[in-house]
């Protein structure tokens, strides 16, 4: 009996009366299997597939409901008004986000609110081939329309269509010209060599031959030059298109993928596609024509002999088809090994300082050797296999030649065929078996190019940031920022921010405090609209910020990120990143405000000092100050400082503080700092704890309240005392 895999349900049977109906993929025992969560206005129920009722809770008894993330999935937990916590149903990650939505729905019902959740059905399987989709609601790689993809790639040829047509014409000419020399040779044999006379014909034929050789060389050179031109142009176009698409992708995409994997779409995948377009398509034409043309010629010369010598071709095709799959699998594996090899190589070189610091050269070399050997073994295995198959194909090709001599030779002896005709057929044989081998390999090439194209189009088609919303308004920000019931999670089933409500008045300086991981950076990520709230809204000057044109919005927001990133270039270029036309005076002024001027002046090249990749040639504190200067010069209406001064000494920080203090006047500022003294200038402090606002108020108010904030301050000053004490002791010991 063939057992069936239990996978998340493909369809949700609709049921009358139920407001929410979701099928989970785990049974109570923890085995894969289906159970149903049903919610209506009266109760929440869990049903088994046979209809048996496993649990029921009246909505009226429910205080709250949530998705409790567990390792590998989640479970729906309901807290009753009596404070009792009940776990209703478990499920894997695949459908956790939907149950999280359902939990919100249950809460809304429990509070007597309107049911406002988004539970559109998910597609987990392809409708056409029933294959599991790699990504929920994604495309089925098996059913994407190859023809359509091909057409889309072909569109990249459009700007160069005249070149492409020329290329095809030249390919046709080459085919025709290739057919001529064997004819000449045949005539030479029959009419000159065998008759042992007729010099004029010899010179005549040789003359034609030279002419043809010259012409086809010229054609080949022209063709290859066009190929080079087309290759370069189309490759550049493809790369530009993909890069442009990637630039506008949402940040959630970058969270999920490694940078290496993304950049490979710009390089490797585009390479495959243009390679196929420019080199594959013309040869496809060339070899196709050659095959048809030559076979026709062979049959015309002598159909019986033609039939005999072409006999091995079906065998060759069978071999190619039979071994194509396992072969690609093996090459795929070699690709995997290469990737593993590269990852290790990159990592150990990037971390070379750490490697040296821990004297780990030997163990890194050991790892390297392991990957190297793996790569070697996989490569040798695949190549050996390939050469074996290739050898077999070659053997059958040479069989064609042997048959030609056997059958053709006998025919020549019986005078059924002249020597010249025999020679011509023999020469054409090579023109047939070449293209056949090419076609055997092209399938593989084609699939890889198509896979590359699919990956490219996946990016091009992916939902972009709403950059140029047609009806997006341009709004000059005054600076009021209003969070209204904001809820957000990087993973939709696990909110990092919940019920965030606050209003920052124009020009106000808000300090965000809270333990590490509380959600501070996340809050400011939302303000900059790197991510958008899952529910609730953020309003700027009373306007939902999704209605403001994105680039226009971001131009008015200045950010100093927790991990400052500088581009490889000069200090001045980095400071002027947000304002390309800034004068040197403005740059210096900004640097001064960020307390960076002095250290920059002390560099040999001053503002022209190169900062290195990622700004690696500057110290951590220097990098921070340059990025503060960058934000200042940007002259934003809303300024965001995420741990902007965490890597500078207290004295420097104080100076920056003062500079910022002058600067923030009139701008709404959000500042995050672990060193709480940094925030003493803040008008108000918002204290976050595990994604919720727990306290809001001025420094004094919060200290008096003796709540979470005052505890944070206390521990911090305790720690400082300890450090101070230790220092004191060390000094005393001297």
């Amino acid at each position: 009996m063939k057992s069936k895999s239990i996978n998340p349900s493909e369809t949700e049977p609709s049921s009358t009366g139920a407001l929410i109906r979701l099928v989970a993929d785990l049974l109570e025992s923890g085995d894969y299997g289906q159970r149903v969560l049903e919610v209506d206005a009266e109760s929440v129920r869990v049903l088994e597939m046979n209809g048996a009722l496993s649990a029921t809770i009246p909505i009226a008894d429910i205080h709250n409901a949530r998705n409790e993330p567990v390792v590998g999935g989640g479970r729906l937990e309901v807290t009753t008004k009596k404070g009792e916590k009940l776990a209703l149903i478990s499920y894997t990650h695949t459908i956790a986000a939907r149950f999280s939505e359902a939990a919100r729905g249950i809460e809304q019902l429990a509070k007597g609110e309107e049911l406002l959740i988004n539970l559109k059905p998910q597609r987990t399987h392809c409708e056409k081939c029933k294959r599991l989709l790699p990504e929920v609601d994604g495309i089925c790689p098996a059913c994407v329309d190859r023809g359509k993809t091909l057409l889309r790639i072909a569109r990249f040829m459009l700007p160069y269509k005249y070149w492409a047509i020329t290329l095809a014409t030249l390919a046709f000419l080459t085919t025709v010209l290739n057919l001529v020399p064997p004819i000449l040779q045949g005539r030479l044999i029959d009419e000159v060599l065998q008759r042992h006379t007729n010099y004029p014909l010899l010179y005549q034929l040789i003359g034609v031959w030279v002419g043809i050789a010259l012409t086809s060389s010229l054609i080949n050179i022209t063709r290859d030059r066009i190929v080079a031109k087309l290759a370069g142009s189309i490759a550049a176009d493809l790369r530009a298109t993909v890069y442009r698409a990637i630039e506008f992708l949402q940040l959630t995409y970058f969270d999920k993928k490694q940078v290496g994997a993304i950049s490979s779409r710009v390089t490797t995948d585009t390479d495959r596609v243009w390679g196929f377009l420019v080199e594959g398509v013309p040869y496809f034409l060339l070899n196709g024509l050659m095959l048809v043309g030559v076979s026709a010629f062979l049959f015309w010369t002598n159909w019986f002999l033609a039939l005999c010598i072409l006999a091995p071709i079906p065998v060759i095709i069978t071999i190619a088809v039979r071994f194509w799959k396992p072969m690609t699998q093996m090459f795929y594996k070699v690709g995997q090994k290469w990737a593993r090899f590269y990852i290790h190589l990159n990592e150990s070189l990037n971390g070379i300082r750490v490697v040296k610091a821990f004297a780990k050269e030997d163990s890194e070399f050991h790892k390297f050797t392991k990957r190297n050997v793996e790569l070697q073994e996989a490569g040798v295995k695949a190549d050996s296999r390939w050469f074996t198959i290739f050898g077999a194909m070659l053997f059958f090709s040479s069989l064609g030649t042997i048959i030609c001599w056997l059958v053709g030779g006998a025919m020549v002896v019986r005078k059924e065929l002249t020597l010249g005709e025999f020679y011509r057929i023999h020469a054409y044989l090579a023109l047939i078996y070449g293209p056949i081998q090419w076609f055997a390999a092209v399938n593989n090439w084609f699939s890889r190019a198509m896979a590359g194209a699919d990956r490219i189009f996946e990016i091009i088609d992916m939902e972009k940031e709403a950059y140029r919303l047609d009806d997006g308004v341009r709004h000059d920000i005054k600076g009021e920022v209003h969070f209204e019931d904001v809820r957000f999670g990087y993973d939709k089933s696990n909110p990092v921010l919940k019920d965030i409500n606050f209003v920052a008045k124009p020009g106000e300086m808000i300090g965000l405090v809270g333990k590490s991981g509380a959600g501070k950076s996340t809050t400011i990520n939302l303000i900059a609209r790197f991510y958008e709230p899952d529910s609730g809204s953020i309003k700027i000057d009373g306007l939902d910020y999704r209605e403001i044109e994105l680039q226009h919005l971001r131009r008015q927001i200045g950010i100093v990120l927790q991990e400052p990133f500088l581009f490889n270039g000069t200090v001045a270029e980095n400071i002027a990143y947000g304002k390309a036309d800034a004068t040197m005076e403005e740059i210096v002024e900004a640097a001064r405000a960020a307390n960076a001027h002095n250290f920059i002046m002390m560099k040999p090249d001053g503002y022209d000092q190169m900062v290195g990749e990622r700004g690696a040639k500057l110290s951590g504190g220097e990098r921070q100050r340059v990025s503060i200067a960058r934000a200042i010069l940007h002259d934003p209406r809303i300024l965001i400082l995420d741990e902007a001064t965490s890597s500078v000494d207290v004295e420097t920080e104080k100076q920056i503080q003062e500079a910022i203090g002058r600067l923030v006047a009139g701008r709404t500022t959000f500042a995050i700092a672990h060193r709480l003294s940094t925030l003493r200038n803040a008008d108000r402090l918002i204290v976050l704890d595990r994604g919720k606002i727990v306290e809001v108020g001025t420094h004094e108010e919060l200290m008096e309240k003796k709540g979470v904030f005052s505890k944070l301050v206390e521990t911090q000053s305790e720690i400082q005392e300890i450090i101070g004490f230790d220092l004191g002791q060390a000094e005393a010991a001297k």
């Binding site: 894969y32 009940l86 776990a87 990650h93 699919d454």
Partner: protein, 160 residues
């Protein structure tokens, strides 16, 4: 306050879905969440008992150091909190269109999944241990590929 040890604690579910702990019958911690320190590389070792604030109350070297009753209770909780799957057998695996399609039998039953970009999502932990992560972040663990049947091993060998 008496420090909890594996000998003086009592674990129980009260109400039925909340794990509680009393220490030497003196005081109780109302909500306990067991967390493996290294579930993949050191399964069965170092189990942390965390309170509702996410702070560790007790770190057990193994579950066996607990009394039989406690063991049973903690096992029940662990079963609910670890929904990961261990692969016992690979029924089929194939590479198609740049993705790998797998059908596996786990301790929870049979399941299909797709892994995209295998070099990121098939993670080797050491020489023989392998974890597949599908697109939804479901994890399928192969604790020791040498312990799989030859057919399953062949599937892995042919792809990785």
């Amino acid at each position: 306050m008496i420090t909890p040890t594996s000998d003086n604690i009592k674990l129980f579910h009260e109400p039925k879905d909340v794990l509680r702990m009393t220490v030497a019958d003196q005081y109780s911690v109302v909500q306990i969440e067991p967390r493996w320190a290294a579930p993949l590389s050191h399964p069965g070792q170092l189990l942390g008992l965390m309170n509702s604030k996410g702070e560790e109350v007790l770190l057990l070297p193994t579950v066996e150091s607990l009394s039989a009753v406690n063991q049973e209770v903690i096992q029940r909780e662990l079963d609910r909190r670890y929904l990961t799957s261990t692969v016992h057998k690979i029924v089929s695996a194939k590479v198609e269109f740049g993705a790998t399609y797998w059908t596996v039998i786990t301790e929870r039953g049979q399941r299909d999944f797709v892994v995209q970009s295998l070099q990121e999502n098939a993670q080797w932990l050491g020489e023989r241990q392998l974890v597949f992560v599908d697109i939804d972040h479901n994890r399928f663990e192969v604790p020791d590929i040498d312990k799989l049947d030859p057919q399953s091993r062949k599937f892995i060998d042919s792809i990785l």
